[in-house]
């Protein structure tokens, strides 16, 4: 990896934003001056001492809700992305190594799922099963894992035909060794980049679902839901909906900047070591 001095300014900004969000994620509720359900003022009241970001549509402290929402929003996205990689990457690599009917079946299933817009699939599942947190996370993760599967399979196919992989097969190595030692380490750069991107997409997707009322259910705070709840404030020229929207934007920008920096110069995949 590059030395510290080689990291561009945008990289630093991205990492600073991610660090700030990580702190919010870990300590948000502790930092919050009020509870997330506590009504402490007038609806849509202006920022004032003790309440630097004002109040939401129910008169709850905006800052406190943002801090609580950080845990919820970031937590769901992170869990969903981790789960989708845990499902997609092994299956993708397996399909690439084994090929044949296994590859055929998995790929066609994935193609079928991908042919339906993600939002529609998610809406159907969430309507049917009800929007609880586990259902939300698993639904998003499984829908997302199709994309991860495709990438992992593609990258692994490239590596699988490399001669060092052939040497390992001719040595009689089992599936576990092939995945863990030969393919995964060489597939890591594009997968890590994809992880960052997927996190962004998922974050926005959760925000979108919440906005439609199918994401995180009240009274829990989450940033997407907060934008929705406060949207009528925009009609009256109030700042209230802008704060959660800005929080979403900052996370997305932070992750994107970091990923861009990680991707730059690391676009060669498949362990080309020349």
């Amino acid at each position: 990896m590059s030395r510290l001095s080689n990291i561009p300014l945008t990289g630093w900004i991205g990492m600073a934003l991610i660090a700030a969000n990580a702190i919010l994620f870990l300590f948000g509720p502790m930092l919050a001056p009020f509870g997330q359900e506590e009504i402490v003022g007038m609806p849509f009241d202006m920022p004032q001492p003790g309440h630097p970001l004002g109040f939401d549509q129910n008169g709850r402290d905006m800052l406190s809700r943002l801090l609580y929402g950080a845990q919820m929003s970031i937590g769901i996205s992170l869990a969903a992305v981790c789960l989708s990689f845990a499902v997609g990457v092994p299956l993708g690599i397996l399909a690439a190594i084994r090929g044949g009917w296994l590859d055929l079946v998995l790929s066609r299933v994935v193609d079928t799922v991908m042919s339906i817009p993600v939002l529609i699939s998610a809406l159907v599942v969430l309507q049917a099963l009800g929007s609880s947190l586990p259902v939300l996370i698993v639904t998003i993760a499984l829908l997302d894992s199709t994309r991860v599967f495709r990438l992992a399979r593609l990258v692994a196919q490239g590596i699988n035909v490399m001669e060092y992989a052939e040497v390992a097969r001719l040595r009689g190595e089992g599936l576990g060794w092939m995945i863990r030692r030969e393919i995964l380490p060489n597939a890591l750069p594009p997968l890590v980049a994809e992880f960052g991107m997927r996190f962004c997409f998922t974050f926005l997707f959760v925000a979108g679902l919440s906005y439609l009322g199918l994401g995180v259910q009240p009274p829990f705070a989450d940033w997407g839901g907060m934008v929705r709840d406060n949207q009528q404030g925009i009609l009256y020229g109030l700042y209230a909906p802008l704060f959660p929207a800005a929080a979403i934007a900052l996370v997305t920008i932070g992750v994107n900047l970091t990923v861009d920096w990680l991707l730059a110069g690391h676009t060669t995949v498949q362990g080309d070591n020349r």
Partner: protein, 533 residues
């Protein structure tokens, strides 16, 4: 001052500031061919591209002047440089297949230059293209341009690229290894036509190559390069007959030795270990091997020689179990070898090891040298921990690498070192048969020589059996007890190496042997004369 190109103290550095060329100067007269020779990383191609005012992949010209007909390109503006490129000085790359756009017909790509530079009208450009096609000996010059790149052979495409480079009637051609990717019999054809065409139109040329014997046929003067600096420059005769510098002497004597070595090796051989019994094979429906019959005895080296597409690598895949034969059988140590490597026992897998052409892709870039060599020790011989480390150290010593290398990743090794690691990995299995698939063809001549010496040493010490697959006849000459010549999936001749080189029976073998460039200025003319008579 008849110099068309005059380079003075040229310095080129990468984007990271690493200097690739440390002040190189050269002059090129009108109509002269100057050969640039050196191993990879010597800066040959960098000079070739810099002479067009171009730096590859973020490289910058950091100092010196490049005067093309009196005008400095190094300090010229971008539009000025672009006006010169293609028009006054043109480039021919090693791989024509990668230089042509597969989606367009040849004609369109060849006449693009003169039209773009506004030098000719479309009919003029076409007429000139047809004249070039004729001069370059391409079939049906009138209609050849209508073909797509995939519809012509490799040698024809390489010539079409020369036509593309000549399309603007440039003063200078930069030829970057123009025949290296071609088979020997094709190479001689292209070399001949290239030389004729350059002479006919009085073009000057910078001819870049690593092969002394090839450059000896075409160049008037030679410049030997190493590590981005000039070693020596002289007329071709002087460099070949009386090289001044030690490095040049080594280059010349190595090439001489490889051509003139006594043909054939004579090892004490044991019982038959490998028998390829009337085997045919196909990729899908395309047959690639026809009724191949071959036998290898324990302790000997059998070379399989042929040009690309002759099926020699397919044979290696067959023996190693990566491809199943469509007919016939492979027997190993008296027993039928299961067709697929999946059905072979671990011990059988251990006994046959493969070494590849490109060490870059044969080593996992994320595994250290120690892990790479240690893994077969563990899977095949059950060595772990300390015993494994000791054995890795012993193997590293055997192949001539320092023990500290065990901690390195392949990215931190040179090409020759990587190939040594590949050999050590194969040795770790204590195999009975090693299949060497073009193991030296991606390496520089002096490095390749070292690898061959190592392989020979291992054979003497361990009594190793080699199945040596190559297109390089000079390698065969020095290494093999017996040689098998293949053409289009069939064995055309099989004989003791010495016999084969002295008295080839098959016409194809004879043509193959005659096509190997000799380190003799007049060789190409002799071949020409022999053909005419």
């Amino acid at each position: 001052m008849s110099d068309i190109l005059r380079i003075r103290d040229l310095r080129v550095a990468t984007a990271e500031g690493v200097e690739l060329l440390h002040g190189v100067s050269l002059d090129l007269e009108k109509g002269e061919i100057l050969g640039l020779i050196g191993e990879s990383g010597a800066g040959k191609s960098t000079i070739g591209l810099a002479s067009m005012g171009y730096g590859r992949g973020g490289c910058r010209i950091t100092g010196g002047t490049i005067e093309l007909a009196g005008k400095d390109l190094a300090s010229a503006s971008r539009p000025e440089r672009e006006a010169v490129r293609g028009a006054r000085i043109a480039y021919v790359a090693q791989s024509a297949a990668a230089a042509f756009n597969p989606a367009h017909r040849l004609e369109r790509q060849i006449i693009e230059g003169p039209l773009r530079h506004g030098l000719m009208t479309a009919p003029e450009a076409r007429a000139w293209m047809i004249e070039l096609f004729t001069a370059l000996g391409l079939p049906e010059p009138e209609t050849f341009g209508r073909r797509y790149p995939h519809q012509v052979s490799g040698g024809q495409l390489q010539r079409a690229m020369v036509a593309m480079a000549m399309s603007c009637k440039p003063d200078i051609l930069v030829l970057d290894e123009p025949t290296t990717a071609l088979d020997v019999t094709t190479q001689i054809e292209v070399l001949l036509l290239l030389r004729e065409t350059i002479r006919k139109y009085g073009t000057s040329a910078l001819y870049i190559t690593h092969d002394l014997a090839v450059i000896a046929q075409v160049a008037d003067r030679l410049m030997v390069l190493r590590h981005g600096a000039e070693v020596e420059t002289g007329t071709t005769e002087q460099i070949l007959s009386a090289p001044r510098e030690e490095y040049t002497q080594r280059l010349v004597s190595e090439r001489q030795a490889s051509l003139n070595a006594e043909a054939g090796a004579h090892h004490r051989t044991g019982e038959e270990i490998l028998r390829v019994d009337h085997v045919s094979a196909a990729y899908g429906r395309t047959p690639v091997l026809h009724d191949v019959d071959l036998s290898v005895k324990r302790g000997e080296t059998v070379a399989i020689v042929g040009e690309s597409g002759s099926g020699k690598s397919t044979l290696a895949r067959l023996v190693s179990g990566l491809l199943a034969p469509s007919a016939g059988q492979v027997r190993f140590d008296g027993e039928a070898l299961p067709e697929s490597y999946r059905k072979r026992s671990p011990d059988l897998l251990r006994r046959i090891q493969l070494i590849y052409q490109l060490p870059d892709v044969a080593l996992n870039p994320r595994q250290t040298v120690g892990e790479t060599i240690g893994r077969p020790l563990e899977t095949f011989r059950g060595l772990k921990g300390r015993a494994q480390r000791n054995e890795v150290a012993r193997l590293l010593e055997m192949i001539g690498l320092p023990v500290e290398m065990a901690a390195r990743l392949p990215g931190a090794l040179s090409g020759g070192q990587k190939q040594r690691v590949c050999i050590a990995r194969a040795l770790a299995a204590e195999p009975d048969l090693m299949i060497c698939d073009e193991v030296t063809s991606a390496l520089d001549p002096l490095v390749a020589e070292d690898i061959l010496r190592l392989l020979r040493k291992l054979q003497d010490e361990l009594g190793m059996t080699y199945l040596f697959i190559t297109h390089d006849l000079s390698v065969v000459r020095r290494l093999a007890d017996r040689t098998v010549v293949m053409q289009k999936g069939r064995i055309v001749e099989e004989a003791d190496t010495a016999t084969l080189f002295e008295a080839p029976r098959d016409p194809y073998t004879r043509r193959l042997l005659d096509s190997v460039p000799q380190l003799d200025r007049g060789w190409l003319d002799k071949v020409l004369a022999a053909r005419a008579s």
